[in-house]
Symmetry: C2
Subunit: 539 residues, 2 copies
């Protein structure tokens, strides 16, 4: 029995376009001799559709599209869509063949944590679902699952066991599982144990593509009843994956190194954000530093050299090496590059504000004016030429609030906002290794990081220490007390956790950022702005 | 039996401070002769605590504070806090007396819609809860509920009936119910029917205070078993409300007019945001228009004349009447006022960008530079003097995207972002009526609205038509097709709904805005940025 997993890249809300795409892939699968074609979770409407699910017309249009797909079906097709029943909405897998919707399965486990809000929209199904498929006179019993159903351990139940008890021989899971580092191995380990523990094949069909902050990585998987891998879909690409459950060789899992995976995830994130919002060209402020350099590399791989514009916006505090490094990077990448000085603009601001400032000492106001002058220039280019601004801040900075709201935080998409400073270094080195030369100028990597907003300024953090501590607090969700107990400097931990807390207001107004870790700033982390909880102050 | 409802104003995360406040109010109630003292939902930790609930130390510290309150209790106290049991978190009401926690009730209905995310954190309780209280030898049976439990019709169950069946004579509901226009009447109608249908008294103790976007209005209520109102707490103020269930006169409901309610809600919203984030002074860009004028009035009532700073930032397109109106408003309010021209700054930007613009036609880039120059000036004042910027955009503008990101959208708090242009006019007229003179210059109210970013520009909308259509689409969640069916101009509806859709990216980076309607932009409305659903384009 040849089961085809189509890991496709739908667009949220584009029901007609997604329907056409499903038809295309379905016909391709039929042409390839498939007996059954599978599409990911909610692939007809895109994931996550968020509050579009509250619009009746959205649900109705998707239902009509599903009916059309069913009507035109020949061999069996299983795909994800919603279903409204008794005024309740379900996240379903529909089984269609020979012109009809034969049956459907209602997702049982609804993730409602981190970036997921499924309990906001859906009612849980309560029944395991097994469907009989007849292929060339042979009957096969398929148990269906949708995404979170696989992670049943977290809900103290065993849904695969229930399916096995109902006679399932093969489990098919329709997923929309967002990428994060090492997620592939989590999935493999779990599916492998489900398959071997229950002596059944497990096929996992995952979505590809980016949607706002989320990146879906594909990497569909098939395990045989011995818990051996027999098929694996590509990472970050649409693909059709033919699986012959009974007659497949076992294969080794393909998994790239961390830097490559993250880099490729971000490339897809940028590419899809542009494609799906109707943009083509990007503009990036290039400071000569490592963050903007890495962002430019990712943008070039996502959009093409001809679609990326670099802008250097030096002030009187900008060092010659910064200007040189930014220019060199642009030459290395071969992108459009221009220099627009902010000196006269900053002088105009200072002159206009002099009376109000009334001789006060220089401080953060004067520093931020520079960042905001740059932010306004880059937005002017964006407005004039319809270039989308990519912001270049990293996660460590964003955590510490070491960034200027309405200045360097400006942008439609934050490309590396989920990368720690440590990861920014690692990826930059990897970029150069891959390129075979110092595409990102070695000086950008090796010089002390600086915002260059005052004379001879350098960033007031030892990133070798601060970056891992931020990662521990945010990604690993450790508490400040735990870190201190583990030996971290109490004063530093207190300072960092306080900065994270009081800068929530900046992050609330940040551009959406591509998520690659287990806990990113953004929709998966909902911390109040008004928040006086400081555990180290005995609150 | 004298039951005291304490509608208090806790701060999210400030467990120690909230505990002290609960002690203060408890002792006041005891001194007043109370037999039982009631506090609102989660009043020990503040509402909504969002992801603070995922931190163990937060839950532990709150538990310790609760233990301390219980230990020091004499007469019965009922208050809201969380409880962790078997690794599950519950939203609970604790009944304590004579030094002990006697029992607890687990909230059954967990709102997970609009601004609520309770299923993200809590497990539902499954049992009705009735507690016997002995006062002066008399036994009274109290049925406990927490907030959403009251709205059981939406969940196809009748929790009050269950409590009645278990012997409850009085229902006590601990709430954290956010304000929105006409919410009071919804609550009254529902509580009245619960009380009279089941022949029992119903006491409703609601939180007061603002938390980020949400404003809690207090207005606690008590109904006797005939469904008659016997007590009502003040709106938008802390209060101790003594209710003698058996011996109370019936009273008439006090409800102000719409404009007054909304205005007072926003005043509390501003006041608490400042107090709870440690700010004192505000700065507002005054254009001479109605939006910034109304915002300034609210700020003055929230913070005091001495803490509000007005800034006029004229350009070469600013009319004399705009400058005059802004100045007159400031004089009427008696606030600090200054003028900082943006002309030379804008010239510097234009000069610096000339080469890049390369002779292109004037357009939105040139308009936005003006808004961003203003945005940077006001942020410079904010940085220099620690004044918090209040942004002044209204909901209609924000829906249409008729606002400049990193320009006039700059601010720590958006005061009137949930008011339609229609409401802005209504509230402004009410402000003048209340003041007894044209505090907001009549010219600001009567002149055609204009952003004044090009010569003789006026806003390209007929707000009399557009404002109600936006309200219908957002607040009332009507679909474009419905509006057209009801007779609205199809071209206009298509334009408006398209603008709402494509400007989601701006709103994602907007300042948090105070919510006063049934559906505000912000955490209660989760619409994807990448969103190709356009029902009028047959998607």
């Amino acid at each position: 029995m040849k089961i085809t997993l189509c890991q496709i890249n739908p667009t949220v809300g584009a029901i007609n376009q997604n329907k056409k795409s499903i038809f295309d892939w379905y016909h391709r699968a039929v042409d390839l001799g498939a007996d059954l074609v599978v599409f990911p979770e909610l692939s007809l409407i895109g994931y996550p559709p968020q509050d579009l699910l509250l619009r009746n017309r959205f649900i109705e249009n998707a239902k009509n599209a599903l009916d059309e797909i069913a009507q035109k079906s020949t061999i069996p097709i299983i795909l994800g869509n919603t279903m409204m029943e008794d005024n309740k909405l379900y996240n379903c897998a529909f089984f269609c063949e020979k012109g009809e919707i034969i049956s459907h399965y209602k997702k049982r486990l609804l993730p409602t944590y981190d970036v997921f809000d499924e309990a906001r929209y859906f009612t849980s199904g309560s029944e395991p679902f097994v469907v009989k498929v007849s292929i060339n006179g042979e009957n096969v019993y398929l148990g269906l699952q949708i995404c979170e159903d696989l992670w049943d351990k977290n809900y103290s139940c065993d849904l695969v066991e229930e399916l096995k008890a109902k006679g399932a021989e093969i489990i098919i899971n329709l997923s929309a599982s967002p990428y994060r580092v090492d997620r592939l191995l989590d999935r493999c380990e779990l599916i492998q144990s489900k398959a071997s523990d229950n002596r059944l094949s497990y096929l996992y069909c995952n979505l590809v593509g980016a949607q706002d902050e989320l990146i879906f990585d594909g990497q569909s998987l098939a395990y045989n009843e011995n818990g051996e891998l027999i098929a694996q879909g590509k990472a970050f690409e649409e693909e059709i994956l033919m699986v012959d459950v009974k007659n497949s060789q076992t294969i080794d899992l393909i998994d790239s190194i961390r830097e490559e995976k993250i880099y490729n995830a971000l490339v897809l994130g940028v590419k899809d954000y542009f494609k799906k919002t109707g943009h083509t060209e990007a503009v990036i402020g290039l400071s000569g530093g490592i963050d903007s350099s890495l962002t430019a590399c990712i943008a070039v791989d996502a959009l093409g050299i001809e679609n990326v514009h670099g802008v250097s916006m030096p002030s009187k505090f900008s060092s010659q090496h910064s200007k040189d490094d930014a220019k060199l990077l642009s030459e290395n990448l071969g992108i459009d590059y221009r220099t627009i000085s902010i000196e006269s603009i900053v002088s105009s601001f200072e002159e206009s504000l002099k009376t109000s400032y009334n001789g006060s000492e220089l401080g953060v106001a004067e520093e931020n004016i520079q960042a905001r002058a740059r932010g306004s220039i880059i937005m002017a280019l964006s407005n004039k030429f319809n270039w989308l601004v990519l912001s270049t801040g990293n996660k460590t900075e964003l955590a510490m609030g070491y960034c200027t709201l309405y200045g360097d935080m400006n942008g439609g998409l934050a490309v590396i906002s989920d990368l720690s400073k440590t990861d920014v270094y690692a990826l930059s080195r990897w970029v150069n290794e891959k390129a075979g030369f110092d595409c990102i100028p070695i000086n950008s990597i090796e010089k002390p990081p600086s915002a260059e907003l005052t004379p001879n300024q350098v960033d007031p953090f030892d990133y070798d220490v601060v970056s891992p501590l931020v990662t521990a607090l945010i990604d690993n969700q450790k508490s400040p007390s735990e870190l201190i107990k583990e030996g971290a400097d109490p004063g530093l931990v207190k300072d960092i956790s306080n900065r994270i807390r009081i800068n929530e207001y900046k992050r609330r107004q940040a551009a959406p950022g591509l998520r690659v870790t287990s806990k990113a700033f953004g929709i998966g982390r909902r911390v109040p702005i008004v928040n006086q909880f400081d555990e180290l102050n005995n609150d």
